[in-house]
Amino acid sequence: MKFHIESLQLWLKTEQRRSVTFLPNKVNVITGESHTGKTAILDIVDYCMFASNHRISESIINENVAWYGLRIHVNDKIYVLARRAPMGTAPSPDYYFSSTGEVPNSAPSPNISESVLKKLLSADFGIDQDVKIPFGGRTLQANSRVSLRYFLLFNTISQDIITHSDQFFDKQNQARYQEALPRIFDIAVGIDTVENILKREKRGELERNLARQQKLSARTEEKREQFNAQLAETVARAKGYGLVAENTDADTSVTALRQMVAERESGPDLHVSAKYEEISSQIYRVSRKIRGLRRFSSEYVNHKATLKETADSLQPVEYLMRNFEETVRTSVFDDILKNLSQGLQEIKDATARKTPLDSNISEIIKDLESQREKLEKDLQALPAEMEGFENDKDKYIFIGETKAKLELYSDPQSDKAPDNSELIANLEAQIEDLTVSPVEDRKELFTRALDEAIQEYITLTKAALGNYGDYRSAFNYSEKKLHLRKPKTASTENVGSSSNHMFLHLFLFLGLHELIMRNDGIHVAPFLIIDQFSRPYWGEDDQEDEESEKDVDESDVAKVKLALGLLDQFITTANEMGKEFQMIVFEHINPRYWDGLKNVHLVEIFRDGNALIPVSRLG
C-alpha cells in the first residue's frame, strides 16, 4: 500500500490555523527543546486515526486547539481527516472528512461519522470481511473484524518503548492490542495471506465434509438429514410432477411422499413452478450488479488514461449533440447548453488528476457473490419445468418407485447403505487440488529473511553496538522480539545498555517494514514515527545549548550519527525496491548531525518561541 502524511493541521481556538508539513520518502526531522509539543504530534496522529482514548496534553496544546487534522496520501488519493479536540479525557465523536484533500480555513464542521470513515479507511488498508481475527482471546473474539488500528502498531516507536529492554511494540499495556499483535502479525507482515487463509478454511471444510461422508457410509440409517438428502432427487421429481408443494422443506417433503404413497390418492393439485423463475431472475439481477460494481471500480482508470486526449471535449455535451433530434429548443436552449458546458469543464479540470473513493466495493462484491452462490444452490433443488405425466401409468410407476425407495431408506434394519463412494472420491480430488503451503514453513522462511535483513543493519551500525557488533540477529517469532545471538552458538544473550535496546528497536521495525515492502503488503502503511532515539545518550531532551553538548561523549555522538545513517540508508533501500517510505522523527539534536545524509529533511526547529503551538499564537 502507499501512504504518507503530508501535513498535520491544527485549528486553534483563536481562529488561526497551524500546519506542519512533512515530505514523502524522507526522514522528516523535527528538532527542538523539550516541552514544545514534539511528542504530541505522535499522539495527535493516533487521535485522528480513531483513538478511543487520547494522550494529548491538556496544557498549552489541547487547551488551545479546537480541531486536529491530517492531510494524508493513501493509494493515490488525498484525504483530509480531522477530529474535534477532546473535552478533558473524553475523545470527540465529531469528524471531518474531505475526499479531495480540502483543508477548511476555519474550524471544520463535522460531516461524517466515525464508523463510516473507519469503513472507508479500512478498505484502503485492505481490510474486508475476510480479514479477521484467526483465534479468540479474552477481549478479542475469533472471526471478528480486524481493526485498522491494529496495523498501526507497526508505525510508531514511542518514547515509552524505544529503550525498553523487553517490549518492542506500543500499546502492549492495553489488553486489546496485546492480544491483537500475535493475531494479526502473520497477515500484516505477509507470512500468511487472506487468500491462503480462505484456501485453508475451504480445505478444512472439505475435509470435514469428507469425514462426514465416510461416517455416513457406515451408519446411514441414523442420519435423518442424510436420509433426506438421498431422497432429494425423488422429492425434486415429485415437485416437478406437482405431487408435493414447491416450497416445502426436506422433512415435510418426505412426509408428503409417504402420504402420497399411503393414501393412494393422486396427491395434491399441481403446484405451479413460479419459484424457479423468481430465483433465476434474482440470480440475473445479482450477477448484473456484480458486473456493474466491478466495472465501477476498474474502468474509471481507463477513462482517466484517455482524459488527456479529450481534454477540450466534454462527453455529456457531445452526447447531447449526438441526440440532438430528441431535444426541444426554446429560446433558453443555447444558454442552458453554454452554461452546462462551462460548469462541466470546470469540474473536469478540477477532477482530472484526482482518484475517486473505492470504499468497500470489494466487500459488497464478495457479499453478492455469496448471495449468488446460495441462490444457485437453491435453484438446483428446484425442477426447471413442470413435468406432466404422459398418462396415469407413468404416475403410478413413479409412485411405486417412490414407495420402494421409502421402504429401502426408512427401514432402520436395512443394511443397504446408499452408495456415496463417488461423492467421497470427488471430495478427495478437490482436497488434493487445494494446495496451501503450511504456515509453519512460511514462518520459518520469514524469520530467516528478517534476520538476514537485520544482519545488514547490524553490519552498518557495528561501531555503535560495542562488543555486540559481531553478533547475529535472532528474531523470536513467538514473542515478537529481537535478540542477539553470539556467532556459532545457539543461545541468545540478554543485551545490556539502553543504547543497544534503542538500536534493536530500530532494527526490528526497519526489518519488518523491509519485508512487508518486499512482500507487497497491503495492510501496513509504509511510514514510521520515531520519538527521540537519542534518548539513551542525553536522557530527557533538556540539554539546550552547545555548552552541554560538549560534555557529551564523542562516542555517543558517533552512535547518533550511525542511527541517523541507518534511517537514511533505509529510505535508499526502499527506493531501490521501487517503493516509498516516510519517517517522522522527533529529536533535539542539531542539524549538523545529519550533514551529508541526502534523505533527511529538517521540518522545523522548535526553539526560541517556535513550537507546535508557537508562543505568539497562544490564546
Partner: protein, 148 residues
Amino acid sequence: MKFSSYYNNLGINAFAIASVLKEAGFLTLPKVALILPVVAHRETVKKLADRRFRFVSFEQYLIDNIEYFYNFNERYSASLTPMVNALQLLCEIGVVQLKDNGAVAASTLPFDASMGKRAERVQRASANIAALVSGNAEVFYLNARIEL
C-alpha cells in the same frame, strides 16, 4: 439495459427538478444535471424519502451506499436530454429562471395527488436530494465516476 425508457415522462422530470430546486433555492446546471439520475434510482429515492433518514454529508452517504452509484454514469448520460428538455419547459412556464450560471426557483409547481405515487415519493425526498446534490460538485462528479 436502456435507461432512456424511464425518462420519457417530461412531466415527472420537470416536477422532480422543480421540487428539488425549490428546496435548494439555487443550483448550478451541472448540479441540476444530477437530479434526474438520482431520481431514476428507486432505492435511492426510497431511502431519501424515508422520514427517519438524516443527511450528514455526500461523503457519508456515498461510503455507506456505494452500491447505489455503480451505474450512475449510465443514468447520468441517459437523463441529459430529458434534463435539458424539462429545464426548458420549466423556464417557459416561469417556474425556473436561469440566473448567475445556474437556475433558481421562481415559483412553485404544487404537488397534486393525481401526479401519482412516484411523484409523491420524489416530493418527500426532495429536501434530501437537494442536500445531496448541492454540496461540492467536483466531489460528486469524481466519486460517482461521471465521465466528462
